[in-house]
Amino acid sequence: MNFTLKIWRQANPTDKGRFETYYIENISPDASFLEMLDILNDKLIREGKDPVAFDHDCREGICGCCGLYINGRPHGPDEDVTTCQLHMRKFKDGDTIVIEPWRAAAFPVIKDLIVDRSAFDKILQEGGYISVNVGSAPDANSIPIPPEVAEEAFDAAACIGCGACVAACKNSSAMLFVAAKVSHLALLPQGRIEAAKRVKAMIAKMDELGFGSCTNTGACEAECPKNISIAHIARLNREFLSAKLKE
């Protein structure tokens, strides 16, 4: 397969950046999107040009490193996959593919397609945990948890922190990301004790770091590679309200 690629190139955070056009030929439909970029980079290096910088690591859809905005969609045209799980068979021969980094004020570009997502870590540092020290846990079976509750907590905990929700949102809101963690921990008996404190601290940090507000468009849910539901945002709102009412 042959493609025309329009790729965002930006040397560093202060560079203005621009699109550049590349042509690439003889790509197997079974190649992954990142393997296609590997082939492009091999070519660029051999031509003495600067290869395209992009984040990636596990290449099996779980580490959350990769994240490209492809033809106007986070992680591209396939459903429920990360960029590394997208395969070229999802495109048509001869297609033009536009590749950009996540665009959000809270995620500044480092180089080309790489952005700084440390804001996500900072939000979780405010309370995305249960404060248990090593050594103090009771027997694992001492508190039974209904399987449907554990399953729902799992659905939220499956978030990989890739940032597609922020990239998909017209307001660059991080609500789905924050809600996933709040919901995961609020559902479990172990996490209830700190629930009110947690939700207030995480929301405050999210606002401080420059993420936009949520207007319930549902774009985040539609583009989430792990199918995390906006029902978790509703739970976050309930948790937040009840925490505020208790003040």
Binding site: I62, C63, H87, S118, V134
Partner: protein, 646 residues
């Protein structure tokens, strides 16, 4: 010759760890605040260690090459974590987990270490549940278990097919809490490139800031390496693209012994290779072998037709299918340990029975399980794995059998450590996959997560305290000393040297070349001639690399090719040590299969008289042969027997 002292505590096997804990030296709370610890790596071992040490009151600096600690490759572990809880009342016990692990490792690990691991396993589950990890539960809300290769009890705890993800996010959450408390300082996007040794003790590291290219210096009272395995020596593996051996290799060059490098694990259930542009291999969890049946055609002509694409799996009737694991190993069937399942697949494919166009694949078939339990049950158990398979291969495993083939997955070898998890460099510790300690010559499924968390949460916090008790009077050291200058200058010179080659081939060209010789000659099956050839060819690749590698860009900016170049330079040298170790070990054991040493029916044949030891290699210089040191393995609890899963 340096005497290897494993420092195994006195007492019967079930008392050793508690004896150690009751008698080891302690550091008072006030003194802990004066001590700094560097942790390199944020996978299960690194994140759990950094969090636990922060909770104790030490000052911790933690480093990772990714943009966030949550992305370390433990995140990709699928199947589960073993623990001897015996919640299923099916006869499990600490002793049985110990025996299974020791036997699974083909009697090439230390009894005392393995027992300690089994002993701690239950506490890990307690702690993880308290952290909020959503393990699978039964209808009454109690924790569920499944069985895994190499065991006849159900002791594996799991969180769908994403157990590693959930456990790592738990450790990451505890780490975040310590960052908030100010006890842990996080350094992301850093490649740690050198160890700084002062007066014979590890006192710091040199790191490269991957965004700015700056060479940075950090000092501490002890350094903990938790950098994972070296499977990427083989280029194609199930490891993450960034997984590397650079720090452990630099530690080896500074005097830490490297143990059993040839003990590498080839995992039986991975998606087969499909093209030369391929960048990595994807694992399909071993848990699939609970319900999937592995087979190839009985008739060679059917296999040929499959290879040419003339027929599909579903056209071959049951009586013409060879369920070779069930045939060869009736007691364990599809649940034999990984090394055995991998070799059996290779044996069938080498004999011409492979089922895809490359002839390097076997079927993993769920049709019987779907008939028996219904599609819904199978979907609930393995849904995410089936989806992953379909996304990659474009085939629906509910309708047509999966195709699988073995791939490099895990490395049992690593830095030699004593019972305290300390390397031969005082103050330098190695935990998790990067040490050699607990899995012998073959790791059982669901034991890597157990070991990573045992080391980080429960073992290191005690053993490092025992070491640091003597360091309380040592003040913090400045990073402008001669030792730091020297270590930083080594790093700078190497980067300079890499950039100045200015040849014609990109880094991946050399990495693929190395991977090919490693897979062909140092992979699932090894022989003397192949290994001698491999050592020679790897030396040639090294020479060519330093003459002809091409790295674009500059050193003072984000430069992914420069990062890769340093890692591949180290992989090449480590590849040679793997081959040397495999050559010297003239026996078959676990994942190390020497064709010269097999039983009449083709099983691995150990040689306990000559090789019941840990091979610990000492670096002697770039152009000198490494020197072998032996730690003899003494077995008091078990009688050494040929492994039998028949």
């Amino acid at each position: 010759m340096i005497e290897l002292n494993s420092k195994i505590p006195e007492g019967s096997i079930d008392k050793k760890w508690s004896n150690f804990k009751s008698t080891c030296k302690l550091v008072s709370p006030a003194n802990k605040t004066k001590l700094d610890i560097i942790v390199v790596g944020t996978g299960l071992a690194g994140a759990s260690a950094a969090a636990a040490l922060g909770e104790l009151g030490y000052n911790v600096k933690v480093f990772c090459y990714q943009d966030s600690p949550r992305r370390a490759h433990s995140i990709a572990a699928q199947g589960g974590i073993n623990a001897a809880k015996n919640y299923q009342n099916d006869g499990d016990s600490i002793y049985r987990l110990f025996l299974d692990t020791l036997k699974g490792g083909d009697f090439r690990s230390r009894e005392a270490n393995v027992y300690r691991l089994a002993e701690i396993s239950g506490q890990i589950i307690d702690h993880c549940v308290a952290q909020g990890i959503p393990f699978a539960r039964d209808y009454a809300g109690y924790l569920d278990n499944r069985s895994f290769g190499g065991a006849q009890v159900s002791r594996t705890f799991y969180a769908r097919g994403q157990t590693g993800q959930q456990l790592l996010l738990g450790a990451y959450a505890s780490l975040n809490r310590q960052i908030k408390e100010g006890k842990v300082t996080l350094y992301t996007r850093r490649d740690v490139l050198n160890i700084v040794i002062v007066n014979g003790r590890a006192r710091g590291i040199i790191a490269r800031n991957l965004v700015t290219g700056e060479i940075e210096r950090y000092s501490a009272h002890a350094v903990v390496l938790a950098t994972g395995g070296y499977g990427n020596v083989f280029y194609l593996s199930t490891n993450a693209k960034g997984s590397n051996a650079t720090v452990i290799w630099q530690a080896y060059k500074k005097g830490a012994f490297f143990a059993n490098p040839c003990f590498t694990q080839i995992h039986p259930t991975c998606i087969p290779v499909h093209g030369d542009y391929q960048s990595k291999l994807t694992l399909m969890s071993e848990s699939l072998r609970n319900d999937g049946r592995i087979w190839v055609p009985k008739k060679l002509e059917d296999a040929k037709k499959l290879q040419r694409g003339e027929i599909t799996a579903n056209q071959i009737p049951d009586e013409d299918r060879d369920y070779y694991l069930e045939r060869r190993y009736p007691a364990f069937g599809n649940l034999v340990p990984r090394d055995i399942a991998s070799r059996a697949a290779k044996e069938r494919c080498d004999a011409g029975y492979g089922v895809n166009n490359t002839g390097l694949a076997v079927f993993l078939d769920f049709s019987d399980a779907i008939k028996k339990h219904g599609k819904e049950v199978i979907e609930k158990k393995y849904g995410n794995l089936f989806q992953m398979y379909e996304k990659i291969t474009n085939q629906n495993p509910y309708e047509t059998p999966m195709m699988i083939y073995p791939a490099v997955h895990y490395t049992m070898g690593g830095l030699w450590v004593d019972y305290h998890l300390m390397t031969t460099i005082p103050g330098l510790f190695a935990i998790g996959e990067c040490n050699f300690s607990d899995h012998g010559a073959n790791r059982l499924g669901a034991s890597a997560l157990m070991q990573g968390l045992a080391d980080g949460y429960f073992i290191l916090p005690y053993t490092i305290g025992n070491y640091l008790a003597d360091m309380v009077k040592e003040p913090r050291i400045d990073t402008k000393t001669q030792e730091f200058d020297q270590a930083a200058s080594e790093v700078e010179q190497r980067i300079e040297k890499l950039m100045s080659v200015n040849g014609h081939e990109p880094v991946d060209y050399f990495h693929k070349k190395l991977g090919k010789i490693m897979w062909d000659n140092v992979g699932m099956s090894r022989n003397e001639k192949g290994l001698i050839d491999a050592v020679k060819i790897i030396k040639e690749i090294k020479e060519e690399f330093w003459k002809n590698v091409k790295i674009p860009g500059k050193t003072n900016e984000y430069n992914a090719e420069l990062e890769k170049a340093g890692r591949v330079a180290d992989f090449i040298e480590l590849g040679e040590l793997i081959a040397i170790d495999a050559l010297h070990r003239k026996e078959s054991c676990g994942g190390h299969f020497r064709e010269e040493s097999q039983t009449e029916d083709g099983e691995a044949k150990r040689n306990d008289e000559e090789f019941a030891y840990v091979a610990a290699w000492e670096f002697k210089g770039d152009d000198k042969e490494p020197v072998l040191h032996k730690e003899n393995l003494i077995f008091n609890e078990v009688k050494l027997v040929q492994r039998n899963y028949k």
